[in-house]
Amino acid sequence: MQLLIVSWLLLLTGGILAPALGRRPLAAALVGGGSAALGSLAGLAMAAGALANGQTAGLALATTIPGLTLSLRLDPLAAFFLIPVHLLGLLGAIYGVGYLRGHEGRLPGLHWLFYNLLVASMSVVIAAANALLFLFAWEGMSLASFFLVVTEHREPATARAGLIYLLATHLGAALLLGGFLTVGAFAGGFDFSAFAALSHLPGPTASLLFILLLLGFGSKAGLFPFHVWLPEAHPAAPSHVSALMSGAMVKTALYGLVRFLLFLPSAPGWWGGTLMALGLAGALFGIAMSAFQNDVKRGLAYSTVENVGLILLALGLWLFCRGRYPQLAALALTGALTHILNHALFKGLLFLGAGSLLHGTGSRNLNRLGGLMRRMPATGLCLVVGALAVTALPPANGLLGEWFIYRGFLEAGVRLKGLAAFFPLVIVGLLALVGGLALLVFSRLIGIALGGEPRDSRTELAHESGALMLVPMFVLAGLCLAGGLAPSLLLGPVLRVAGMIEPPAAPLLAQAGLLPLWLGGLAQGLTLLLALTALLGRWRRPRRAETPAVPTWGCGYLFPTRRMAYSAEGFSELAGVSFFCDCLRPRIEGGRSVRLFPGREVFRHQAPDLVLEAGFLPLFAWVAARCNRLRRLQSGLVHIYVFYIFSVIVALLGWVAVRL
């Protein structure tokens, strides 16, 4: 416990010192970034230790604020979720120092203040054992991340993103607050120790609480209808912040959900059902939208929506099977936890890589990139590893989690009787569709961004990022591969946590412990074979010393220009027309020139978020319109105001007289 507190103190002091240093970028980066790295390191050590010895540490201090006690608790579950937070916190800090060099604003330390606050508050959220403390840290997390999102506050897009993010996160917090206050009112206290009383809540209240918590946490986690902030906020934020938000912050919401679900009484079936339905919707919608994005980071944000959808799907199955089919529950939970860890690794890697591309080329637009594998080989390599992981292809780590999820649903399909088995089996099929689309999305990203020729003159001048940015990426890439080649690294902690939550499933989990041997061994064999085949290709050296380098064959077109290269829109167009409903398809304006000597044409291609454009914004507009009608009450005529006073008096007098 002490180590964790030390890490918080490090983060806070460093964060406060950094802006105090004034306009000295180097010092600020050193102090801010250094403290962030050290603090995260301490936290990481703490989490690893707690997971290793598997026992629960605790601490409690009273405060002067009613209901709030500084009580902390670090059980395996919390320790497990601390790992992504502090790992990405550490790597992001190192990366950020390199990423921000030369782009510091008026007060370079400010960024580090919010960065450290974000890491610290996430850590507190996970370690908190008091609902109000949790909420306090939760809000701190939201605000810190908000300020990080609006770092480039001069762009109008950033202002919009900031607003949307702020609204989403605050509405979620309001729901959470409602939920917590209800919990407190029933449990008679806000300490988790008091929440044992919740285990026998009346059904309707429990369901109400479930809904409040689901929406509250979901809005942060990117649950399907409330994911709208992710694709806005992630591109706006600096890349290491996006990595931290997408890899770690989103997970804190999942942590909260799991943590509080464990307090509630055993769930009726529809809880799990809702979770599964929303998760599936999120997975399909997210990956479909991701296929249409030309903005690399926006696409990654949608892929986060997809992955969170998968995790929630697994959690839904777990919730559904809890107490009914312990083994299924264990499988699903293992899948969810594994995927949480994996996603933290590869999504962090991908965002850092995207940041490196942005840093090297100055553009996030796929149609300006291209040919970067030559110019930024290290970044390219890391991105390829990340892509393999996110598409769950061997030999990377992504497959492990998805394997458990598939396995869980297949098992459910076999165990359940009759048409009840229908849903899990259909979900398996849809998971396959999601997998296929993910493959499309990321082959598109890799192929268009890294392969071929630069599509823009500025991209030709792209430069590889510095060591400070590359090292974290290589660490993450290494972890992704290690997770694939030696899955027991990942599975060990996961199984410990799963065993803590689902004790009855211990035997199955022990058996699932054998899986790493297979998947790992296969991955190793596969890589070996790949290497061998590659060598075989080299083995018969062509007789002439070097293979002649020629231009790509243009199928008869004599002077192929870079403008002819296949575009990002083109790559996903067939998918769009062949099996997406029109509403999902991107909006395309202009560019259709039919005349013999066409003049200038402006071609605009954008894929706005359906839920935001057709759902929330109109809703808000509607409410605003309704409110506008009431504004006439403030008519500006003073005698009308006097009349208000008069009528209030009459009304109140009447009320009093009636009560008399």
């Binding site: 009450l633 403030q634 008519s635 500006g636 005529l637 003073v638 005698h639 006097v642 008069f646």
Partner: protein
């Protein structure tokens, strides 16, 4: 004595109607002044002569009967307006509303749990009626000046009510109250002038730039 007081109060109510009904500002102000002067006499009739009552009567006469009307006169002299043109609702409806309010006041006060001593007296109905008249004035008139006048009448109503409870308000407090009242009307007079300077008319319509 009691009856005399009641007679005066009756007159006060009639003056309310006159004010509600007349369109000439000057006349309205004079009537308000007359009303104030009458009210000033009422405490002498209701209570045994004492320093307190004398002070009350004197100061009320001075303020309600002389100073405040004078302030308002000054205002309209500078503003150079004579009559209230097109009120929100015409004079006849206003009068009808006033009658309704007065009747309501009488009925209401019959149901109030009064102390035995006050059963016969007109004080409470008259006070309520004057209050109503003041409110009506402020709600229906368009000119800032007439609204100030309405406020004056409103205050008269409260004063009437206060007559029952002179001993509740110690002398010093009473003085403070009246001083506040004076200052209020004084400031209102100033503001009315400023309004006239800015807008060159006192219609409240022009005073509705600030709205949602």
């Amino acid at each position: 004595m009691e009856n005399l007081a009641n007679l005066l109060l009756l007159l006060v109510i009639l003056l309310n109607f006159f004010i509600l009904g007349s369109s000439r500002l000057g006349a309205c102000i004079q009537t308000a002044a007359l009303q104030g002067a009458m009210l000033a006499c009422v405490p002498l009739l209701m209570h045994p002569i004492s320093g307190h009552t004398l002070f009350l009567a004197g100061s009320a006469l001075a303020l309600k009967g002389v100073v405040m009307p004078w302030l308002l006169f000054r205002a309209i002299r500078q503003v150079r307006i004579r009559r209230e043109i097109d009120p929100m609702i015409g004079y006849v409806p206003t009068l009808i509303l006033g009658t309704v309010a007065t009747a309501g006041a009488f009925i209401f006060s019959d149901h109030l749990p009064l102390v035995a001593a006050h059963r016969g007296s007109l004080v409470i109905p008259c006070g309520l009626a004057t209050l109503g008249a003041g409110f009506l004035m402020m709600i229906t008139r368009r000119k800032a000046l007439t609204q100030a006048l309405g406020y004056l009448i409103f205050e008269n109503g409260i004063f009437i009510f206060g007559l029952l409870l002179t001993e509740a308000m110690p002398l010093m407090v009473e003085a403070g109250v009246l001083l506040d009242l004076l200052v209020a009307v004084f400031v209102m007079g100033i503001v009315v002038n400023q309004i006239n300077r800015e807008f060159s008319s006192l219609n409240v319509e022009n005073l509705s730039l600030l709205r949602e």
